[in-house]
Symmetry: C2
Subunit: 438 residues, 2 copies
C-alpha cells in the first residue's frame, strides 16, 4: 500500500487541528481528480476534516480550489445573473416557480439542479415528469436559450467543479457528508462556477431537512454567505422550518402542478410565501429593486398578470417539453390509483412529520433509495389537511397516488404515523424566514 | 465509487462515538482481508477510531478479530512459553540478550521481531549483521529448532494475523498509526497468535520513544495488559524511560556486540538492568520462580556461568550464522572509518537526546527512512560519555562508525546538537522500571 508522502503530512496536520493553506488545498483537489492521490488517503483526510472542522478562510480556499478544478461559466446577457440553492426539503418545488418568475422580472436565471436521493426530492426528477422535458442541454443550446428567454432549469454540468463530484462520491461512502465546511464549500463551489453575481440560499431546518436544528442551519447559512462574499458575490441565506412538507404535495408530477399553481397566482400559502421571499432577496441583491416592498409588489404583479406562468411555458417549450401542462396540468402523468386516507379520530392536527411523509412517498416510488433507482413520476402524497386543522373521524386527510392498490395500502400504513393529534385547538404555523446577510 | 452499506453504517456509528460489537469487528477484519470492504471505507473508519477511541472490551474484541484472521501457533515443548514486546526505542538490543538467557533458564522463547523504520531500530536488522544469520525459517525448521534448543529469533510470519498486516499498511499512509487501541490491539494480536502463555511488554516513553510521556506509556501498557488478561494470558508491562539511548551503541553490528557483552556478564548497566528486569518478570509470570529475588539470582547465575552466552551461540548456529561472534565479536562487520567526536567544551553532560542520536545513525545508513531501504550493518554511533559525566574540552565523547570520512563528518554535525551541557554537576540517571500488572 503506497501513499503520497505530502498527503500523509496534510492528514497529520488536519488530524492535529491545523489549517491547510490555499496552495495545499488546490494541490489536493487537483491531485485527487488526476488520480495522483489515493482515495484512501483522501478518505482519512475527509474524516479528519469532519472531526476538526475548517477555519473560515480555509473553507473559502477549499471552495476556490474546487472551482479551479473545472470550467467556470460566464454570461453576458446584459441583465444581472442570479442563482439559488436549497439544502433540500420535502415537497420543495420552489425552483420551478422561482426561475421563470425572476426571468419574467428581467433577470437571468440559470438553475442547475440535482436528482433526489433518500427522503429529499430533486428538481430534475420533478421536471422530468413533464412529457418531453430535457434536463441535459449542450453548452451551445443552453447559451442560446438563456440569451433568448433569460432562464433554464437543467442538470448539473460535468465540466463544472469535477473535484466536487469525486470528493462528494467519496464522502458519500465514508460517512463524511455531514461536515459543515465540506457542505458549504461543495454547495458554494457549484454556485460560484455557474457564474451568478447574486445568490440566495434556502437553508432548511427541522425533521424533514438535513440540518435538524435552527442553530445548525444558521451556522451553515452563515458559512455559505461568507464564502460567497469572500469570492466577491452578493449572497443572502434564508432559514426556513421544514418540519411539515412545503406545500401540500410530495411526488414529482404532483409537485409540478403546485409550482404551476403558484405561477398562476394560486397554490399553497407557504410555497407562495417562500417563492416571493427568495425572489425578493434576489431582486434586491441583483440591484433591480431598492426595497423589499417594491420587489414584492413587482413579483406579485408578475403572478397576477400571468407573465410568470407564461415564462414557465416558454422554458418548457425551449427544453422540448409539453408547454400545454401550464394551462392544463392534467396532461401531466396521473397515478392509476388515488386513494383517500381517512382520519381514524377527531381532533386537531398537531404535526404532519415531513420525514415520515417523504418516506411514504419514497415507498410509493416517487424517490430513490439508491442512486440509479427508477422514479415513478405519477405517484406521491397530497395532504388534504394540515397542522391546525380540525378534523372529524372518517374525514379524508390525505390522498395517496399509487401505481397499484397494494402500494396504496402499504403507503397508508406508513403515512398514518406522520400525524400527531391534539384534543385542543392548535394554531396554524406561519411561515417564518430568517435572513442572513454578510 | 461504491461502498459497502454495512461498512458505511459502522463508520457512522464510530464517528458518533459508539462501540462496535465483536461480530462487527470480526466481519470488518475478514471483509477487509478478503478485499470485500474497500480500503477508503476502512481508512475513514480508522480515522474515526483515532478520533473517538475504543472501549476496553471493544479493543479486546478487535484484537481477537485480528488473531482470528490467520493461523495461531501452538507449542508443546513441555516448558512454559514466554514472549516479549518492546514498543521500540533507540539502541534497544534487549531481545538478543533476553531470548537466549531465558531459554538457558529452561523456558521456551520464540521471539518474532520486525525491521527498523525511521529512528527506531529493528531486532531483525541487528541479527542480520551476524554473517550467515537467517531470520526467515520455514515452519518445520522453526519447530525443530525450538524443540531442540528452546528458542528462536525470527521475522514476523505472514500467516499470523494477516488482518493486522493490511490494516497496519493502511494506517501507515493515513496518519492513523498513533491510536492507542489500534496500537494495543496490533501488538497484542501478534503476541496472542504466537502462542505464549506469559508475556512481558517493554513500554518506553521519552524523546526516543513512540510515546513521549509516561502517562501515555502507562495508558498503553495498561490497555495491552488488559487485552492479554482478557485473552487468558499472564501479562506484565514494564515502563522505562527512553530519553537517552539504551546502552552505549546505536547501529546494527555495534548493538549485537553489546547484547553479547551482557550475556558475558558485562555490558552497560542500563541494558543489563533492563534485561534482568524483563527476564525476572517472565520467570514469575511463567511460574518458575516464586519471588523476584529468586528469579534475579538464577538469571545472574546464568550470566556468570556463561550459559546465556552459550545459548546465544547455539541459537546463531541453529539459524545458520557464525556462532564464533559470541567469543570474538570482532568477526562482526566493521566500519572502515571510526572517527572520535571531541567535546567542544568542558562541563557535565546533561542530556544525550535519543532521537537526535538515532537521526545521526540513520544518516550514517544504520536504519531506513523508507521501507525497502538498504541498511549498512557496520555503521552507527558509540557513546563514550553519558549523562552525568564530566568532560574536558577536546575529550572524545563519542565515536562515529561510518562508511566514509565524508559520512563521518556529516554525522558529527548531526550528533553534536544531541548533547546538552551543564556547568554544575548532573546526577547520572538510574534506570527505573515501573511495573503494570492486571
Amino acid at each position: 500500500m503506497s501513499g503520497h508522502p505530502e498527503m500523509l503530512a496534510l492528514i497529520e496536520r488536519k488530524k492535529a487541528g491545523e489549517a491547510m493553506s490555499p496552495e495545499e488545498l488546490a494541490w489536493l483537489c487537483q491531485g485527487f481528480v488526476a488520480g495522483e492521490i489515493p482515495d484512501y488517503q483522501v478518505a482519512a483526510w475527509l474524516m479528519a476534516v469532519r472531526w476538526r472542522g475548517m477555519s473560515e478562510s480555509e473553507t473559502l480556499a477549499l471552495t476556490r480550489a474546487l472551482v479551479a478544478s473545472g470550467e467556470t461559466l460566464q454570461w453576458d446577457t446584459g441583465s444581472p445573473i442570479v442563482d439559488k440553492h436549497s439544502t433540500g426539503g420535502v415537497g420543495d418545488k420552489t425552483s420551478i416557480a422561482l426561475v421563470p418568475l425572476l426571468a419574467a422580472a428581467g433577470l437571468t436565471f440559470v438553475k442547475m439542479s440535482g436528482r433526489g436521493l433518500g427522503h429529499t426530492g430533486g428538481t430534475i426528477d420533478k421536471l422530468e415528469s413533464i412529457p418531453g422535458f430535457q434536463v441535459q442541454l449542450d453548452s451551445g443550446r443552453l447559451r442560446a436559450q438563456v440569451a433568448r428567454i433569460g432562464c433554464a432549469l437543467v442538470g448539473q454540468s460535468n465540466t463544472l467543479v469535477p473535484a466536487d463530484g469525486v470528493l462528494y462520491a467519496l464522502r458519500d461512502v465514508t460517512a463524511t457528508v455531514d461536515s459543515l465546511p465540506l457542505i458549504a464549500s461543495s454547495v458554494m463551489s457549484k454556485k460560484l462556477a455557474a457564474g451568478a453575481s447574486a445568490i440566495v440560499l434556502d437553508v432548511k431546518f427541522g425533521s424533514g431537512a438535513f440540518m435538524r436544528t435552527q442553530a445548525e442551519a444558521e451556522e451553515l447559512g452563515r458559512a455559505m454567505v461568507r464564502i460567497g462574499s469572500g469570492a466577491g458575490r452578493r449572497v443572502n441565506a434564508l432559514l426556513s422550518a421544514m418540519d411539515q412538507p412545503l406545500g401540500k404535495t410530495v411526488g414529482n408530477a404532483l409537485e409540478v402542478v403546485e409550482a404551476i399553481e403558484v405561477l398562476r397566482n394560486d397554490g399553497p400559502a407557504d410555497l407562495r410565501a417562500l417563492t416571493l421571499e427568495l425572489g425578493k432577496r434576489l431582486m434586491i441583491l441583483a440591484g433591480v429593486c431598492a426595497t423589499p416592498e417594491k420587489a414584492h409588489q413587482s413579483l406579485e404583479r408578475l403572478l397576477e398578470s400571468g407573465h410568470g406562468a407564461a415564462k414557465l411555458a416558454e422554458l418548457i417549450e425551449a427544453q422540448g417539453g409539453d408547454a400545454a401542462v401550464v394551462d392544463q396540468p392534467s396532461r401531466l402523468p396521473q397515478a392509476p390509483v388515488v386513494q383517500p386516507i381517512e382520519s381514524s379520530r377527531a381532533g386537531w392536527i398537531a404535526e404532519t412529520d415531513a420525514r415520515l411523509i417523504a418516506e411514504a412517498a419514497l415507498q410509493l416510488g416517487a424517490g430513490r433509495r439508491r442512486k440509479g433507482d427508477q422514479v415513478d413520476p405519477r405517484v406521491g402524497v397530497r395532504l388534504l389537511a394540515g397542522v391546525g386543522d380540525s378534523v372529524e373521524k372518517g374525514q379524508p386527510i390525505a390522498e395517496v397516488h399509487a401505481a397499484s392498490a397494494a402500494d396504496a395500502a402499504r403507503a397508508e400504513e406508513s403515512l398514518l404515523p406522520a400525524y400527531r393529534w391534539a384534543a385542543e385547538p392548535v394554531s396554524r404555523p406561519r411561515p417564518t424566514h430568517l435572513l442572513i446577510e454578510d
